[in-house]
Amino acid sequence: MTDLDDAGDIRLDGLLAAAAVRHPDRPALEGEGRTWTWSALEAEVRVLAAELAAHGVTPGVRVGVYAPKTPATVIALYAALRAGAVVAPLDVADPAARTARMIRNAGISVLLTTDRAGSACRAAADAAREGRHPGAPREGELPNGLNWIEVVAQADRPAPLPAPADAGGYVLFTSGSTGWPKGVLLSHANVAHYALWAAREFALTPDDRIGSQAALTFDLTTFDLFSAAAAGACTVVLPDVLRSFARDVVTWLGERRITAFMAVPSLYHNMLRQGGFADAVPASLRVAAFGGEPFVPDLLQECLRLLGDRPFYNLYGPTETNACTYHRVPSDWSADQEMTIGRGIGGVHIEVLDEQGCPTDGDGEIHVAGPTVFQGYLRDGELSDPTVTVAFRDGVTRRAYATGDIARITADGRVFLRGRRDSQVKRRGHRIDLLDVENAALELDQVVTAAAVAKDGDHSGEIWVYAQTTAGERELLAALRGALPKRMLPDRVVPLAALPTTVSGKVDRRALGAAAFPSGSPTESRILITQETSA
């Protein structure tokens, strides 16, 4: 395995090339009834990368990969990386209008898609080109059933991003407060450092089979792909249609002899509650991890008992920093104990700063520094770096990302999460900015004003939108589905004649967060709750 200190020069497609040299005949990728060895994968990637270069995908060009998650899509990602592109996986389930905003914000010039996803991809490309580039985009065919669509002609493309992204990178999107998803620009080295660390910490070998269940737009999957390449392990792709069925996932883990698995707690919860995990813990499973949201304590305790001696890791980290802290949860952990997100991964520095920007032993904001910290956000095609330069308690001044997560850090470096300092929430493992949801509602013609709130009490964990409108809930939800991905849709939309306000005239979000749903038919309600909550 490559030494972590060398990750500065490492390319993600270089991990593939190295695996093809070291483990040419070992399985690399499995799915849809086919298996690729590392040498076969490398050969296909090389051919496709040359084709991409011939169609104008030169180093630094931003490429979106718009396709269902299949082995062919993984090959397309690697080929675009090999061609030197800045690659953004896109989700075919997202509304075209949303995808168009991602394309514009990240400055994507070329889309790669499959026959089946082609028409939806064209719709997104058309929406992104609207008002900017007249006429139909150029497009053509590639090997493996892939097609390319040119969103921006070569002459009109944005200037390459600053180094190291001029030689390529990886873009994942995150919910922003403006209603435009922000492109999180990661360098090859940002992702490779984490991938190499995880491969080493989990002691991955070419005998391992990594179960890849999440969407490629989700940062968890960088482990599935690139830690596999770092170790010469095999990435086994879960069929898309099984993803929503916990019982199918459990069966699949056993049948595909998965040895390493990373998922959000929501999936583990469902595997434990409805999936029959207790009766079918895969004998092959050797190491597992979770991250993205808190694990329900009782279920975590149960899961640990079932996993026995197998290591079970809690990973933390926003997309901007990759996973940056880790904690191997002791197998005898019990639900009455506080859960820590652990310490910084190798080479990464974690600090908790108070409101004055000084290191504190009390509650403060988590700051992350080190080789996994991203290059910046892509907005309107331009890179903006939101990191700050701050002094850590060891006296060293570092470039750090302020995560917005409030936490406490112990003398031995363990971090305990406390909450958020802004309007971001986590729902079913997805990071959602309430203002993003609110903006989508405000952009609807039927809505005068609106507030998106995280609910307390009986509806804890749900997002509700309160809207001043004469439209009904169903009509509003249908309209929102055209603007927001399913994972971001509000659980309820409550139409009101007016929103409750505080004495200062602002929308009273606290009252809305605590308000019960108005009585009566839940789908046809237009009942005022103003009097109930504004007191």
Binding site: S244, F245, A246, G276, R428, A478
Partner: protein, 87 residues
């Protein structure tokens, strides 16, 4: 819940339809999963509605992709489950 059409209506009621999509377009052979109409939340809502509104308790072992491929596939399972009393 006497016909597969009744089941189509129940499923349609738990899908968040987008603009321009017609809930009445759901037919017994509609490929629910391929069309991306069901997420895990919609699946749990459909299971809950079958229980609460029709006394049909779907065993957890039946909540698998094969049974949610189409309304017709789910109808076959619904018919095989003994009905309790309406909650």
């Amino acid at each position: 819940m006497n016909t597969v059409e009744d089941l189509c209506a129940l499923i349609a009621a738990h899908i968040t339809w987008g603009r321009g999509e017609d809930p009445r377009s759901l037919v017994p052979d509609s490929p629910l999963l391929e069309m991306g109409l069901l997420d895990s939340l919609a699946i749990m809502e459909i299971v809950a509605a079958l229980g609460a509104e029709h006394g049909i308790a779907l065993p957890e072992t039946e909540i698998v992709a094969a049974n949610f491929r189409t309304p017709k596939a789910l109808w076959a399972v619904v018919q095989s489950v003994p009905r309790g009393t309406k909650a």
